[in-house]
């Protein structure tokens, strides 16, 4: 069995309730996402917007044996990938913070683009912690944030991945946003 097939199998096992399969799957997905992220940025050097959907899709296509996969597996995969993306991006944010403190390569700059568009930069580490708190109240909202915010999925994609209605995603997303915003501005 090659790796693609093994990953597909693991997804299926996990879908079938085997938690250990998830353990095996995570590092592989993580690695691949990580590499895809780097590749992605290498290709689109000037464009800072990471098109995470495309990224996860590419990872998915790369890792999963397409002949032997059903919608179920795909949904599972997106869920894992989304939580992995959250971890990866928060790790990056941690690196960024560390470098800032250490007076390393990254300067504490006011991003001029950000000033123009009146965007505030978000402390991903704080957001991550808040999200973990939100998870205790509402796991679905937390998943939606992972899919929407950390993985860049559209409302429709998110709805499909969680097998809920679009309206549910709209409502939950709005509340999660409000809740997290409040946590971060306290």
């Amino acid at each position: 069995m090659n790796e693609t097939q093994q990953i597909t199998q693991m997804l299926r096992d996990w879908g079938g309730g085997n938690r250990e399969a998830l353990e095996g799957l995570m590092p592989l997905v993580y690695d691949e996402l990580h590499r895809q992220a780097a590749n992605f940025l290498r290709r689109e050097r000037s464009d800072h917007t990471l098109q995470a959907t495309a990224l996860i899709n590419e990872t998915y296509l790369k890792l999963i044996d397409q002949r032997d996969v059903n919608w179920e597996s795909r949904t599972h995969f997106f869920a894992i990938a989304a939580s992995m993306m959250r971890r990866i991006l928060v790790d990056y944010a941690r690196t960024k913070n560390r470098e800032k403190r250490g007076g390393g390569a990254i300067k504490l700059t006011l991003n001029e683009d950000a000033l123009v568009s009146k965007e505030r930069s978000i402390d991903l580490m704080a957001l991550d912690q808040a999200l973990t708190r939100l998870e205790k109240h509402d796991e679905q909202q937390a998943r939606i944030v992972e899919l929407r915010y950390f993985s860049g999925l559209t409302l429709e994609e998110t709805a499909a991945a969680l097998k809920v209605s679009r309206t549910t995603v709209v409502n939950d997303w709005a509340m999660a946003k409000a809740w997290l915003h409040r946590e971060l501005t306290r």
């Binding site: 790796e3 093994q6 990254i106 568009s117 409040r182």
Partner: protein, 892 residues
């Protein structure tokens, strides 16, 4: 918050956000009733929602995009253990590869950082380490030497020797390999594999990506033992899944193209799997495609298991039968039917090579004009898309029709590479590392039969000088001084002493067919020993790459510490178009001869170079230099050619603002157009870019002297002379500048030294005449002026000068004869009006002198640039007309 109240708040919130903020209060009153807690919570969330604005609208990646960018590769200068990253040189499935500097041993190394994926399993890693060590300990010249394997929490990495070269993949796809080259590469690979197999090490992943071909044709095999890591099973899977291998499409990062059937099936592999993969490689080098290639991976897989490869004759004609036999014996599906050892295979390859070379020699000696004699040597890979029934004449090719030299070249190549004609002498550390090292690149010898190839040997020399002179901790003798030793037989110590350098680079270039064979030696002048030597065999088209490789190798072997910018500068290629580059070199070669027809010839070459590469900044700079030379030759109208020079210079800068030559030529062009300030800016910029270029210092000194900044001028020209001690032009100008500065005795001293340096150079005599005349020693002045004119009879400046001093001596009739000559000449062509003005001034005809000065102003005579400082005008300095003229020239 309890689940129930959360859900209640959630419902109310969902409804409330659909209502305009102003109308929400009544809704909340109703929805929450007297549940104050829920009401507070929902209101607070609604406020937060309204405030949120663009919060979380951009995907999270946006926040860290800069870090991801940065992390994608280690940055230059980053330390990794005692390795300092220089730049990334590759990225593959297994990890990223960097060129790094080993700061302890001061040598370049390659650092491969393994992806986490391959580092998960410790026992696997250990096995890999063991194997890599074993392969490395073979100490085989064709196997990449691994220096260190680092296993740390941070990363796992492999440090190996750094090989400059292309992967065999690049070589196959970019060039058509000829049969002798194929055999040469094959023999080297087989040699290495045979040695590894003897030591019980199997490579397992022989493919073109794992083979590096150095520019000199030397082959190195990479990644011994790494294949095992790739095959590692993902975590969580045990051996029980192995059965599935029967349907495998190949390991995830690999390609099935080079696998043996047993490997693809997941069976046990041994050394014979390398024999098979090697057979695939050989097939591909000859036929231009792999033997089992299908439209999809599964088709390839099926072909590999079930089908025989198409006969090579389908893709390449005149493949020696013996070679076809060797390939097909390597590609037997059953391993028992293959070559059982790499050694056997190697033996057959060597025999074949020898027989071919022998047959070739034999045929050539019997019938030197027999065109078929070259046939077998002219192998090129075929176009696989050609209809198969119409065999391409691949192994004959176009050379069949002509050029027995090319065949000889190919033969020589085999002999040269085959003999391992590659000399690394023990690398000596050149003396003191902290002191600035000094080096002269002596003109490469044109070892070709064709004297017309001299432009190439000169050009390559010059380019190497230019590349190296950009390094701040190396003092490189300029072209002008170094070229005095062209064809000079003096011993190297003598030459080094005259140039005042510690080390010399010598070399020769031979053009054989479409190959260039460049030999280079780096010599320690103190004991005449060789520090480093190498032979580069290149396609003519790769001459640009060759010279920058040479420059880099020299820098490396001098143990120079290069900054990142310098690394980039030294690797900078002026053009990617080899033909354009050759035309540029031809242009330079002709312009340096400084006669009107030669310069015009040079201009035509530069223009052809630009036609081929419109972005070739250096060619524009060369063109600018050439136009300026025409303008200053005092024969053609300066107003016609200086603007052309300026346009070309501007274009060069537009194309590459970091090109020192471009700013130099613009500065010089502006100087002769009396634009002193802008000229100075350009020289300053040029010096910033390349502080070691003597030419810039000379030009800048000229500007400083002519505008009356004598102390600065003398410092600059001194610097130029240090950089270029044997360049008589610098010495002559220094004499002139000393005269301008009011130091005639020092001037004479310097000029006399320049006489010794270059007895036949007219310029120092011309200036000496001026010095004597200023001192009132007119007899001596006349003698020097005559000497200058004898040495350079066509220069109008010599005529004018002699006429002037004759007039001062009182020999007015003789002076007038020369004056009339010039006047007559001026009727048919341009004669700088200043020259005539000088004579009239000598004769005491002041009005006439002013008349011609006015003409000089009108005609933008470049030589007006001397008016402020030339002592010949001292008698007129208080004249209002003169004062006013200097004002117009912005020289007062």
């Amino acid at each position: 918050m309890a689940d129930e109240s959360w859900n209640k708040a959630k419902r109310i919130f969902a409804d409330a956000i659909k209502i305009a903020p102003a109308k929400r209060l009544p809704f909340l009153d109703e929805a929450c009733g007297n549940d104050a807690e829920t009401r507070r919570e929902v209101e607070s969330l609604l406020n937060s929602f309204d405030d949120a604005g663009s919060f979380m609208e951009q995907p999270a990646a946006h926040e860290v995009a800069d870090v991801i960018q940065q992390n994608k590769a280690l940055e230059a200068g980053k330390r990794f253990g005692h390795y300092e990253i220089v730049r990334q040189i590759g990225a593959g499935g297994m990890g990223e590869v960097y060129l790094a500097k080993d700061t302890r041993l001061e040598r370049p190394v390659a650092v491969k950082i393994l992806n986490e994926r391959f580092s998960h399993n410790e026992s696997n890693l250990e096995r890999f380490v063991k194997e890599a060590k074993a392969a490395s300990s073979l100490n085989h010249p064709n196997i990449l030497v691994i220096h260190e394997i680092g296993l740390s929490d941070e990363a796992n990495y492999i440090v190996s020797e750094f090989i400059e070269g292309d992967t065999l993949r690049d070589v196959i796809s970019e060039t058509s390999l000829k049969l002798p080259e194929i055999l040469d590469i094959a023999v080297q690979i087989a040699n290495a594999l045979a040695a590894a197999h003897t030591a019980k090490i199997v490579h397992r992943d022989i493919k073109p990506e794992n083979i590096i071909v150095r520019p000199d044709g030397f082959v190195k095999i990479l990644d011994f033992g790494l294949a095992k890591l790739i095959e590692q099973k993902p975590i969580g899977f045990e051996a029980s899944t192995v059965k599935h291998n029967e349907t495998a499409k190949g390991v995830i990062l690999g390609t099935v193209n080079y696998m043996s059937p047993e490997q693809a099936k997941g069976e046990k592999v041994d050394a014979r799997t390398d024999v098979f993969s090697f057979g695939v490689l050989l097939y591909e080098m000859i036929g231009g495609r792999t033997p089992f290639e299908g439209d999809s991976m599964s088709e390839t897989f099926a072909n590999l298991i079930n089908s025989e490869p198409p006969p090579l004759a389908r893709f390449a004609s005149e493949v020696p039968e013996e070679l076809q036999r060797i390939v097909s014996k390597s590609l037997r599906k059953k391993k028992d039917e293959r070559y059982q050892t790499m050694k056997d295979l190697l033996g057959d390859l060597k025999d074949l090579r020898e027989n071919l070379a022998f047959g070739e020699r034999l045929e050539r000696s019997h019938s030197p004009d027999n065109k078929n004699a070259t046939a077998v040597l002219q192998a090129t890979t075929g176009d696989v898309n050609q209809p198969t029934n119409e065999t391409n004449s691949i192994f004959t090719g176009k050379i069949k029709r002509s050029n027995p030299l090319a065949a000889l070249a190919a033969l020589l190549l085999v002999a040269i590479i085959g003999l391992g004609y590659y000399f690394w002498s023990a690398q000596k550390t050149a003396s003191n590392t902290t002191e600035k090292k000094s080096l002269a690149v002596l003109p490469f010898v044109n070892a070709s039969q064709d004297p017309g190839a001299e432009y190439l040997s000169d050009g390559v020399t010059e380019s190497i000088i230019n590349n190296l002179s950009q390094l701040s901790n190396l003092r490189v003798m300029s072209r002008n001084s170094a070229f005095r030793f062209k064809n000079n037989q003096a011993d190297t110590r003598n030459i080094a002493a005259q140039l005042g350098v510690e080390t010399l680079v010598t070399g020769d270039i031979k053009q054989l067919g479409d190959k260039l064979i460049i030999n280079v030696r780096l010599i320690d002048a103190s004991d005449d020993s060789q520090i480093w030597g190498n032979q580069y065999i290149k396609n003519s088209a790769d001459v640009i790459a060759a010279q920058y490789e040479i420059a880099q190798a020299v820098a490396r072997n001098l143990r120079l510490k290069l900054s990142t910018t310098e690394q980039q500068q030294i690797a900078k290629r002026p053009t990617e178009n080899a033909e354009a580059y050759q035309l540029y070199l031809r242009g330079r070669f002709h312009v340096f001869r400084l006669t009107l027809p030669e310069i015009q010839q040079g201009i035509s070459y530069f223009q052809q170079a630009i036609n081929l590469d419109p972005n070739y900044a250096l060619a524009y700079a060369g063109l600018s230099d050439a136009y300026r030379s025409l303008a200053l030759g005092s024969e053609l109208l300066p107003t016609e050619f200086l603007p052309k020079a300026q346009t070309a210079a501007n274009k060069a800068i537009e194309l590459d603002d970091a090109l020192s030559e471009a700013h130099t030529t613009l500065g010089a062009t502006l100087f002769w157009q009396w634009n002193w300030n802008e000229s100075e800016n350009q020289f300053k910029r040029a010096l910033e870019l390349n502080p070691n270029e003597a030419n810039v210092h000379i030009f800048y000194a000229h500007l400083l002297s002519n505008t009356g900044r004598h102390a600065e001028a003398l410092a600059e020209i001194k610097r130029a002379r240090e950089l270029d001690p044997l360049f008589p032009f610098a010495g002559a100008l220094e004499g002139q500048f000393l005269l301008h500065a009011g130091q005639p005795d020092e001037a004479l001293d310097r000029l006399r030294k320049t006489f010794e340096l270059a007895p036949n150079f007219w310029m120092p005599h011309l200036f000496a005449a001026s010095v004597y005349s200023q001192k009132g020693l007119f007899e001596e002045a006349v003698a020097e002026a005559r000497k200058a004119r004898e040495l350079s009879p066509t220069q109008t400046v010599s005529v004018a000068n002699e006429s002037y001093v004759l007039a001062k001596l009182g020999k007015k009739a003789e002076a007038r004869t020369l004056l009339n000559e010039l006047l007559k000449l001026s009727e048919t062509r341009f004669v700088p009006p200043v020259h005539l003005a000088v004579i009239y001034n000598g004769l005491g005809e002041t009005d006439k002198a002013f008349e011609w000065l006015e003409k000089g102003y009108e005609q933008r005579d470049p030589k007006m640039a001397f008016l402020k400082v030339d002592p010949k005008w001292n008698n007129l300095r208080s004249e209002p007309r003169f004062v006013e003229l200097l004002q117009r020239l912005r020289l007062s």
